[in-house]
Amino acid sequence: MAKKTPYYDKHVALGGHIVNFGGFLMPTQYKSVIEETKRVRATVGVFDVSHMGEIEVTGPDALRFISRITVNDPSKLSLNQVQYSAMCYNDGGIVDDLLVYRLKKRYLLVVNASNTDKDFKWIKYNVKENVTVKNISDDIAQLAIQGPDAEKVMQKLTDIDLSKIKFYWAREGKVADIDTVISRTGYTGEDGFEVYFNKTYADKMWDAVFDAGKEFDIEPIALGARDTLRLEMYYRLYGNDIDGTTTPAEGDLMWITRLNKTEFNGREVIIKQKLEGVKRKLTPFELLDKGIPRHGYDIKDDKGNTIGHVTSGTLSPMVERGIGCGYVEPEFSKLDSEFFIDARGRLLKAKVVEAPFYKHGTHK
């Protein structure tokens, strides 16, 4: 049976269109994907991201263990710092992408909702060091407060000096008189915070945030706008852009992959791909023609040969044209390469562009 976050009743009361997303009943939109996207880019919006998974790693070997199961290098993390990373299988396929928080006495791994159980099993299966791994997802509620005015909203609710928290850093402390982990992170490209707290306080936190945000026209934002916002930044979506059949080298994630680490799952395959080249590469493109690229559409060359497929696509509310990404043969992944998106038989001309698609994000 599909799970609900503590905010399910709020989503329904707010007129959210509810779907089953990764095993959770979540809203895809309240009013309009375009309006919600613009709200976050203009002032501030709030996402219920309580469906995300949180896995706690403690014990003397926690750092060594996390280093072995992730592609980025957690030894680079200072206390209260956050890192974007990925876990791979031994064949290089991606188990999940995730955030690694180094907190006092523990590490927190924040994983994708639909992958939480799979990830937890995989993490436990990999344990050979002296660590304790705990899935605390069911106890934790999470809100993402995103937009250029996010700091002004959240500063009203806490004594922590938020201006001192840099991008991809966190603090533990009271927000709205509730114990939290608060980090300057997000999935939108705007400045903003993600706040983790016990779900018992879900309503209290929601009300406090919306009260504080009133003067900035704060609004709830659903998954539809979350998808356009993240795609405008070319942030990957697990299950679409990356999955167990794609590696970090193919998924354009070498910027988080530290091959100088001597040991981590998937290392050999990724090194081999780096040396020999990949057969396909995730590539961001913009449409030159009017239309919307969509997940699953074929990508074709000028002779009509299929050279790949679209993994994510939308109409960018900010760039105001079709944007997307997909796997193509490497010769087509170079900047300014042109190809066609087969939109139900209509061939739409597309060009490889530099990511992000939206260049004016306020993230620090």
Binding site: I34, G224, T228, K290, I292, L315, A343, R346
Partner: protein, 128 residues
């Protein structure tokens, strides 16, 4: 949600208004709300023959793309060209300025098999 009594409906969520042998077609309030954010339309030329139950164009929203399905058979005599530059009109006024095509019906009896407002409303509630 609004289901005007004077209109007929299809299970693919189009509405038609019959005046003599001319049927005006659009998409229902329910359909526009489900699609939301309509951004593109692909519409046929005047003179195109359409067949009841067959696609005559496409409607594209940020969320999804769908076929526009002819409610009745006949020949298109008018296309709402305003929608090409302002497709969001369908969101704001699905039964008025958001009409899509006018068809000269070749078989007016087909209209009898369309759903009434009550039947369509019941269908929508059962489906969702």
């Amino acid at each position: 949600m609004n289901f005007p009594k004077e209109l007929k409906y299809t299970k693919s969520h189009e509405w038609v208004k019959i005046e003599g042998d001319i049927a005006t077609e659009g998409i229902s309030d329910f359909a526009q709300e489900e699609l939301s954010d309509i951004v593109y339309l692909e519409l046929p030329e005047i003179g195109t023959k359409v067949e009841a139950g067959k696609a005559f164009g496409t409607i594209e929203a940020v969320k999804a793309v769908s076929d526009l399905v002819a409610a009745v058979s006949g020949e298109i005599v008018e296309v709402n060209e305003e929608l090409v530059n302002a497709p969001e009109t369908i969101n704001s006024d699905p039964y008025g300025a958001g009409w899509i095509i006018k068809v000269k019906m070749s078989n007016p009896d087909e209209a009898n098999s369309l759903l009434s407002a009550e039947e369509y409303e019941k269908f929508v509630q059962e489906e969702h």
